[in-house]
């Protein structure tokens, strides 16, 4: 038969399906009637003749089915029938269907969310044309992405592999649109930035390399779409408008397209300004200093150049730099990485974290499948009679299996739909979430087509996976035996069944999840209780940048002193001081430290790479940092006095061997300047909570000035009253400076963000795992009890005690719980080694965690077994006997 007529026949039959079935039925009925007529004519009574005719005809349902197939109504039509039948069967047991769909929705939803994270943070390139071809240059030695501007110029002009190389840096400045400056985060970008990325303006024009004519020569801005919308009311004639940046006049050139968020995934700048204006934008010019590294470099490779070739090319430039500028670039080497997550600095932990989440959510789905597998297998056992009857009527086993699989896939698609819907809501919320106050840090993780595709694929796979579980039962079904015995389950109750294995597996998986989430929560609690080296409670902090008010370099110390005096005079303030940056905040600065004896300041002679801070007198008292020896910074450590520094214990140990040797000792910083240690303070946390002890040095801010200013104000009256008082005082001074005032506790959220996010994610996964364990145990418990209700009733009638009844009913379930939990605990403890990368002090051998897991699993078991146990105890033999 030719294809078109075949299709027409299929389509026709599909449309007239009812008619065809009806016609077939009539024809078979006619056959039996005709045969019965003949038999009647031979002298048989009519009723007997008809029965005989039906028997002679054979398995009517099977022949009908075969007729359907023979007439071309195979694929689509019988699938349609299967689906309809499956719908009917599922509607008949709404409880089962609901539990199955919710279970899967949790599993699929968790996976859809985690896949979205993976997609947004790892798989999807930065959102620019040909984003997949972009590479970021990092230093080979420590995989830090930061380069100096001078090195950037050399790299840009000397490499032969990149099709253009752009530099950018995240910075903040006072943006003054309507008379009041506001702290605004933006990109300083090289002139070629937009051209290298191939981004086209939404409105107006971008700046280009031709716009740069030396330092401070290009007073231009490109607005982000969202800044243009929110602060400029989407004014289409914006190009040419002049605004003030740090009191300097800048002309708006144009607006970036809505979907362009710069070249970092976590950070959306408000505007872009040319890097050559660094002095105006930043307060001082970092560009000429080859040792000042803070620029990130990206660019696409030329067509046909492999990353390996490009790395070799970059390293030949590195060799040139090391030879030409040994004091800065000795031992320089470069490597390539993917842009978007500050190179490998964020990239590595984010990848590890997402991979960990993938693994755990995969486990969730596996547990959900095991759960559903045992549910379906129990259901198949209950449908024994139905299966047997269909087999007896001539249905083939393949057909019944297909029917069961259709049901499974239908359930899994229902679960997927619910799961995707839930994940969309959650992902929308996550995408809008800005975890760090005042800083535009967030990550768009909205689901896209690939997320949906993965979710549906997972649903189909898991549907087939748990749908296959009852296959063996169906294959071994024998219609005659089934109908005769009525029930086959008593015989099997002593053996270890597939359902038992599935439940144990599922409980093990859930125990892994519960273990990891407990480890994460425990780590979180510990990190909150650990010693930061300062006391964030009862302290306010005020952030401002003196050069946003347009003050000259020499005016700044006096301005800072004025502000400090005003804040200190507020009633109730016990201590106040300021620093150029606070520990555990976004961004830090480190300095190379040399021993006093060093004369050659090449990188190999570095004695320590220390976190550096410039602090005012009173800072340590305000921050609550304990002084171990010597004194703190005083107003006498002024510009003309010898350089003095307070160091932490780790610094003292690292440079002087012992803490006691450090007091009064000297060390050298970049440029060979000698510094004397005048005091030693306790160690603290500086970059992250999970870091190892770091050396830190605190200079006098009079000797190492900075315009970036964080006041720390400690009060005996509580932060609730202090905040408004500080605000009144500062705004009364008419300084023209933007101030951001918050409690230190709140600001600390930044440092805790990663750990908090990790704990939250693991906690949610753990809760999901616990829920699955609950439903799994409940399912099997309830099933066992309902199958054996009659037996239990008889036991009760014969005088069994409650304990014995319970043991008979649920002993098996609890044995499985114990086995699964033990296996899961061991696996979970092994897995937490992986967690220790993200979670602070995630120690697997924590008695709290061990006890917590055992208690949780036991509690889950008791909770889940409660209802079935009550039902078992209430088994009434009389009632049961009457029923059958």
């Amino acid at each position: 038969m030719r294809l078109p007529s075949y299709l027409r026949s299929v389509a026709g039959r599909f449309l007239r399906r009812e008619d065809v079935a009806e016609e077939m039925e009539q024809e078979l009925r006619a056959h039996i009637a005709l045969r019965a007529d003949d038999l009647e004519r031979e002298g048989m009574p009519r009723a007997q003749a008809e029965r005989r005719a039906r028997v002679e005809f054979g398995a009517r349902e099977r022949y009908k089915e075969e007729c359907h197939q023979a007439s071309g109504g195979t694929g689509i039509e019988s699938l349609f029938k299967d689906v309809r039948y499956a719908f009917r069967m599922l509607r008949k047991s709404p409880g089962f269907t609901l539990v199955a769909i919710v279970t899967l929705a949790l599993g699929i939803g968790a996976n859809a969310i985690v896949f979205s994270l993976l997609n947004a943070l790892v798989l999807r390139p930065v959102n620019v044309p040909h984003g997949g071809e972009l590479y970021e240059i990092e230093q080979g030695r420590d995989h830090a992405p930061s380069q100096s501007y001078a090195d950037y110029l050399d790299l840009r002009d000397r490499n032969k592999s990149f099709d253009g190389l752009a530099a950018y840096e995240i910075d903040k400045a006072g943006l003054d649109i309507d008379g009041t400056p506001a702290q605004t985060f933006f990109y300083e970008a090289s002139g070629n930035y937009f051209d290298v990325l191939g981004v086209k303006p939404y409105l107006g024009r971008f700046f280009h390399a031709e716009d740069e004519h030396g330092y401070n020569s290009a007073p231009y801005l490109v607005l982000s779409y969202s800044l243009w919308q929110t602060r400029f009311h989407a004014d289409r004639n914006i190009a040419g408008r002049v605004v003030l940046v740090n009191k300097f006049a800048y002309t708006v050139l144009g607006v970036a397209p809505p979907d362009f968020r710069g070249t970092e995934l976590f950070f959306a700048p408000a505007f872009w300004a040319p890097m050559v204006d660094d002095e105006q934008l930043n307060g001082f010019n970092t560009l000429p200093n080859r040792g000042n590294r803070g620029k990130w470099l990206v660019g696409p490779l030329k067509p046909g150049v492999t990353p390996a070739q490009a790395t070799a090319d970059l390293n030949s430039v590195a060799a040139y730099l090391a030879k030409t500028y040994p004091s800065d670039d000795d031992g320089m080497s470069f490597a390539l990485t993917k842009p978007g997550l500050v190179g490998d600095m964020l990239g590595a932990p984010v990848h590890a974290f997402v991979a960990g989440l993938m693994l755990l959510s995969g486990l969730i789905l596996l547990a959900a499948c095991a759960n559903l597998g045992s549910l379906f297998s129990a259901r198949a056992a209950d449908r024994w009679r139905e299966v047997a009857l269909r087999l007896a009527l001539g249905s083939t086993r393949a057909r019944i299996l297909r029917q069961l699989l259709t049901e499974a896939v239908l359930v899994s698609l229902g679960g997927a739909t619910a799961g995707i819907a839930g994940s969309i809501v959650l992902l929308r919320w996550l995408s809008a979430w800005q975890p760090i106050p005042d800083v535009p840090v967030n990550a768009p993780v909205n689901p896209d087509l690939s997320t949906y595709a993965v979710a549906v694929l997972l649903a189909l796979i898991s549907g087939l996976l748990f749908g296959i579980v009852p296959v063996r039962q169906v294959l071994h079904a024998h219609p005659y035996q089934a109908i005769k015995a009525g029930s086959n389950t008593l015989a099997a109750s002593r053996r270890v069944t597939l359902r038992d294995v599935l439940l144990a597996l599922q409980i093990a998986v859930c125990a892994v999840l519960v273990t990891s989430s407990l480890v994460a929560v425990r780590g979180m609690i510990r990190s909150l209780q650990s010693n930061f080296g300062f006391d964030p409670h009862d302290a306010m902090q005020v952030n401002t940048d003196i050069d946003m008010g347009g003050y000259k370099l020499e005016q700044r110390p006096a301005m800072q002193r004025r502000l400090l005096d005003a804040v200190s005079a507020i009633p109730g303030v016990t201590a106040a001081g300021y620093t150029d940056r606070i520990p555990l905040n976004i961004g830090w600065s480190d300095s190379y430290i040399y021993a006093d004896s060093t004369t050659d300041y090449k990188p190999s002679n570095i004695a320590a790479d220390a976190m550096d801070y410039s602090v005012s007198p009173g800072y340590f008292e305000a921050a609550g940092t304990a002084l171990r020896a010597g004194r703190t910074i005083s107003w006498d450590d002024s510009k003309d006095a010898p350089m003095a520094a307070v160091v932490n214990q780790e610094f003292a140990r690292k440079l002087f061997g012992r803490e006691q040797n450090a007091m009064g000792g000297h060390f050298k910083i970049w440029g060979g300047k000698r510094v004397q240690v005048v005091g030693i303070v306790e160690d603290g946390k500086y970059k992250t909570l999970s870091e190892d002890p770091q050396p830190a040095v605190f200079f006098s801010i009079l000797q190492a000035p900075s315009s970036d200013t964080w006041f720390i104000v400690r009060s005996s009256r509580g932060t609730g009253e202090l905040g408004p008082a500080i605000e009144r005082t500062l705004s009364g001074m008419n300084t023209g400076l933007p101030f951001i005032i918050s409690t230190w506790d709140r600001e600390l959220g930044t440092a805790l963000f990663a750990a908090r996010a990790a704990s939250l994610a693991l906690g949610v996964l753990g809760a999901l795992g616990a829920m699955l364990a609950l439903t799994g145990i409940f399912g099997l418990g309830a099933y066992t009890v309902s199958r054996r209700l009659r037996e239990l009733g008889i036991r009760i009638a014969l005088g069994a005690r409650r304990k014995q009844v319970l043991r008979a009913a649920l002993g098996r379930v609890f044995r499985l719980l114990a086995i699964g939990s033990a296996a899961g605990l061991v696996l979970g403890l092994a897995a937490t080694r992986l967690l220790s990368f993200i979670v602070y002090q995630a120690s697997p051998r924590d008695p709290f965690v061990l006890a917590g897991v055992v208690a949780t699993m036991l509690l889950l078991g008791l909770l889940a077994a409660w209802v079935p146990a009550m039902r078992a105890l209430r088994a009434d033999p009389m009632l049961l006997l009457r029923e059958e």
Partner: protein, 113 residues
Amino acid sequence: MGEQAQILPGTLDLLILKAVSLGPLHGYGILLRIGQISGSALEIEQGALYPALFRLVRQGLLKANWGTSENNRKAKFYELTAGGRKRLREEEDGWNRLAAAMAAALSARPEEI
């Protein structure tokens, strides 16, 4: 009823075509006709006839129309199409050749070799 032979796979179609070639018949009638012309020597389960009938209709070898049986029952009557007639001839020739060859092979005696 004499001794019955299991029907060879693939031969049911040929039997149906042959039965119908002698005049339009309903399903039950086809069964009776096959029984009659084969001397009741071939056994077919009654229901098994129908999938074959549907297949032949789909292949365009048979066509079916509703009609009334001799004892006034509504039934579906099958008859050969032109294609069916052609196919029947081909199959008959094929069978006859095969049967002759098989008969010759089985009746071979040592002295003939």
